[in-house]
Subunit: 237 residues, 2 copies
């Protein structure tokens, strides 16, 4: 018994069945919409990639450099998720690529219904030129976005060198559902105590089928591996 | 009307009253426990600081250096929040300071009931030497932890130079509830396109009363400002 508030210690941790049920209903509805989104994207003739990371891991910079490298050959569209601002979508539009900004107004992740709305706007923007590749840049958050299937065909977790190589072991749920693990900002390796070997090994213990790419979008180091990866995904449509 | 799943577009975004009610009940219960935690901590003779940031912004390193600087004069205890692992608590214990690791098992934030349990464990660990200062290191996440008062007396948002100076404007809710904004890893400024002026100005637009500290826990740059800040908080007990 707690002598401050009078509660039984740990009582707070017991699950409330109403909360459990509401959460399960939300996730079931999300999954249904995600499956529908996937069919929707396939009907468009495209594939979708969901980019998940903490804020500032380099998702938007990766997209800018990818458009520079592939924009002439591959028709790219982008759905940007942010809590506030159109900044990321503006960076993509400046590259001449259609972008839809979804602002969640506080929510810590995108969900499949939001992306569904985004797909319709993207179709409207590109009605005379179908897309090959849709990037969905999730809200900057290494935790919550991993719970929500958006209807993507490939989920990539980005981790930048400054964040530290202990993150796979500390955020295992995030890595469990991923297809690809991308270590970014490798040009900064000399300034940080980051072990790419530790990060790779721990990530593979959690999800042994992970593809792993280490690159720097700023310096261009190993960027060709990423472009090859995308080309293979597109060839597999 | 969406021709893929047949739904009315944007219907998904309408609020479900059951979800709204459950969330409100959760937040009300959290607030009640947070207020109780605050009284609990004050009865202990201590003050508590809640550290919120993305993964890898330097929260644990800040604590290690703070213990090095103050551990002889100030009795410090630490509550560590992580999804998995005891790693951060082990780093603190290696400094000779009592630490309680709360692993959320997937949850993206600490809440007041979890911290309540942590306070009891901390009291048990330190029963013959009361604490002055309790640090609560939240789960690495710049979004969700900001919604949950833990019973702290001071909330600090950390943002490291590698994450980018656009984060206050992109995560305004997080900054709105803060007492102090700490820019970390300033020794790396030369390697990044980070404008401390932009970050400061945008943060102050959101919360004009913010205290702002720029430092590097690794190089020690400006660390004395942080120590002075803590001394003032302790003097105001």
């Amino acid at each position: 018994m707690c002598d401050v508030c009078g509660c039984q210690l740990h009582d707070h941790h017991q699950s409330d069945p109403t909360i459990v049920e509401v959460n399960q209903n939300l996730l079931n509805a999300n999954q249904k919409q995600a499956d529908s989104n996937r069919r929707h994207i396939e009907k468009m003739g495209a594939i979708a990639i969901n980019l998940i990371s903490s804020p500032g891991s380099g998702k938007t910079t990766l997209l800018e450099r990818t458009i520079d490298a592939l924009g002439d050959q591959v028709r790219i569209g982008v759905i940007e998720g942010d809590i506030e601002t159109e900044r990321d979508a503006d960076r993509i539009r400046a590259k001449g690529v259609p972008a839809v900004q979804l602002t969640t107004g506080g929510a810590c992740h995108l969900d499949a219904p939001m992306v569904h709305g985004g797909l319709h706007v993207l179709e409207h923007l590109t009605k005379n030129s179908p897309l090959d590749l849709i990037f969905i840049e999730n809200v900057g958050n290494l935790v919550c976005p991993a719970t929500f299937d958006l209807g993507e065909h490939c989920r990539i977790i980005l981790l930048s060198v400054p964040e530290g190589s202990d993150k796979p072991v500390k955020y295992p749920t995030t890595f469990k559902g991923a297809d690809c693990f991308m270590i970014t900002k490798t040009d900064l390796q000399a300034h940080f105590d980051f072990s790419a070997r530790e990060a790779r090994e721990e990530a593979l213990k959690i999800q042994p089928d992970l593809d792993i790419i280490e690159l720097s979008a700023t310096s261009g180091d190993n960027f060709e591996q990423w472009i090859d990866y995308l080309q293979q995904l597109l060839a597999g449509r």
